[in-house]
Symmetry: C2
Subunit: 331 residues, 2 copies
């Protein structure tokens, strides 16, 4: 492809190809190459964790959240996925000409409130204005401190480990799509701060191998990235995949697969068998983790490093990463 298309922003196969052929080619280093949610800065004398994310979601306000809340929770969640306790946030705003001042102020106010809720300070900011149609983009970069000694990362899944997902899938994606299509329903984005749940697991001393928040590309893409990085197979059970009834109905009508749908308040947690029951019960104690389930297992793999799904009818199918466009501008 000679030009950028919306598919390059899907978080799936086309995004990965772009990252490999352009970004890794020119920027490769030991931090970027890991492709984790955040970089653990081992080279410095300080155990820091750093991550950056731009938020380009449309509409800016949607049931269950808005771009400001997303910009705080999304980045802070990424820090937690590497075991990083959030310290500081920067926020850079790109405003399109024509953006209503009221809309901007509502988004900034929501961002400020989310930062206070999470207990993180916005220490640096930037504002630019570009031509356009009244849109708003926000970049947040988070700095955290590594507080726990265990090594967490996409490459740490071990055969025999359990795969836990913290709740039902697809709510954010379905909420955004409903807003765009003008479909009236009660589906809300799951946009949420995951820090309390992760902190609980780490402080309890559980042996957590992998933490990943399940955003663009959905669970299928995240599990494939883990399988590849850890050089293992992952098997999930179709009937255990949690989906809210209203989201399931929405998906059936529109032909969507919740496995590929974006979430903004769900994470995958991979732990050894021995810690599975305790991890699950701890996650389920939180409001945002009440629907958590163990939905699969990690297996040894000499080649392939696949994600497979046991269907309701006893068959098995390969779950690949997202191809094509997915729903663009989801986060």
């Amino acid at each position: 492809m000679n030009r950028i298309t919306m598919a390059h922003g899907s978080g799936g196969a086309v995004t990965q190809e772009l990252i490999r052929t352009v970004f890794q080619k020119h920027l490769a280093n030991k931090y970027l190459n890991k492709m984790d949610d955040a970089a653990v800065l081992t080279g410095s004398s300080y155990p820091l964790v750093m991550t950056t994310d731009s938020f380009v979601v449309t509409p800016l306000f949607f049931p269950g959240g808005d771009i400001g809340k997303l910009a705080v929770f999304g980045t802070v969640n990424d820090l937690w996925m590497m075991g990083g306790q959030p310290l500081y946030l920067t926020a850079a705003f790109i405003l399109e000409e024509g953006l209503s001042m009221k809309t901007l102020e509502e988004a900034v106010s929501s961002l400020g409130q989310a930062a206070r809720d999470v207990g993180i300070q916005v220490v640096a900011g930037d504002t630019k204005v570009v031509e356009g149609k009244g849109g708003l983009y926000i970049n947040t970069t988070g700095l955290g401190q590594l507080c726990y000694s265990q090594v967490i990362g996409s490459a740490q899944a071990k055969p025999g480990d359990s795969v836990i997902v913290s709740g039902p899938l697809g709510n954010h994606h379905a909420s955004i799509l409903s807003s765009r299509l003008g479909i009236k329903n009660y589906i809300q984005s799951d946009c949420a701060y995951l820090g309390d749940m992760v902190k609980g697991l780490l402080e309890a001393g559980l042996e957590v191998h992998v933490l990943r928040d399940v955003t663009r590309g959905g669970l299928a893409t995240v599990l494939n990235e883990i399988a590849k990085s850890s050089r293992v197979n992952i098997q999930v059970s179709e009937e255990l995949i949690p989906v809210d009834p209203e989201v399931l109905g929405f998906c059936e009508i529109l032909g969507l697969d919740p496995l590929y749908m974006a979430n903004e308040g769900k994470f995958v947690c991979i732990v050894p068998e021995k810690d599975t029951a305790k991890a699950l019960s701890m996650i389920k104690q939180h409001a945002h983790g009440a629907g958590a389930v163990v939905l699969g297992k990690v297996f040894n793999s000499l080649q392939g490093h696949q994600v497979t799904c046991q269907t309701k009818y006893g068959g098995e199918k390969i779950i690949d990463i997202l191809y094509g466009e997915g729903l663009p501008r989801i986060c």
Copy 2:
């Protein structure tokens, strides 16, 4: 104003009003309120410096630089302006649909080369795609380490101090404008890394009070911000303001004032009288500081906190901050 206009991105009075009425209102804290080029994170146990900047310049490539180079030098320079030795950089790319893959790769390649030149690693990245006309925006966030004990900041100018500017003004602005208007000339952007010069001053133990890079809004705006923060008056001499002859000619034809034009490789350095000669001579030893001059002085002020200019004809005029639009999308 009910809607965002290009003037909100000028870096001048309208930008400051937007920051005050929207961003400071909802995000105010001791770091953001200082309005320095970067935040010194005194609250942590680590002496860190952090800054964020989005780059939205058009055209993406211009004589003397490009968006990739700008995205590294701009952010790293901001760290140095607070005395921060750069440690790590994050880079987040927002790609507009239709952007040529070749253009993107050239920009990313240039960013990678600039990072290597400066000796900083890009430790985290992000890519999003939005609708549009093939544009590209880059956010970089820099993390540095405070290596020097002296307190540097916009509020540190003292009566009697000298105001040094590191070279001729307006080249970046004139280069961008020439590109946009299709005017053929030899003007190049001054896009440059300022770290070597600043490091030299700090390592030599000079008493540096203020360092500011002179970007959006130009020298007039930067000096006004310093005068206000430090509660002093600043007086500069019109005939000492350095401007390259070709830039001066360009400005005269188009009615532009170099004092309000953006630069990408110039900084203001405010030092006590006793260190002025040494600071000037050290800056002039560098290729990017060869045109440095002492162009003014800091005076005591009980009220007003103004910047004034002694004209060539013996008069005195007030130099205000930039009003209105300036040249948008300059950085």
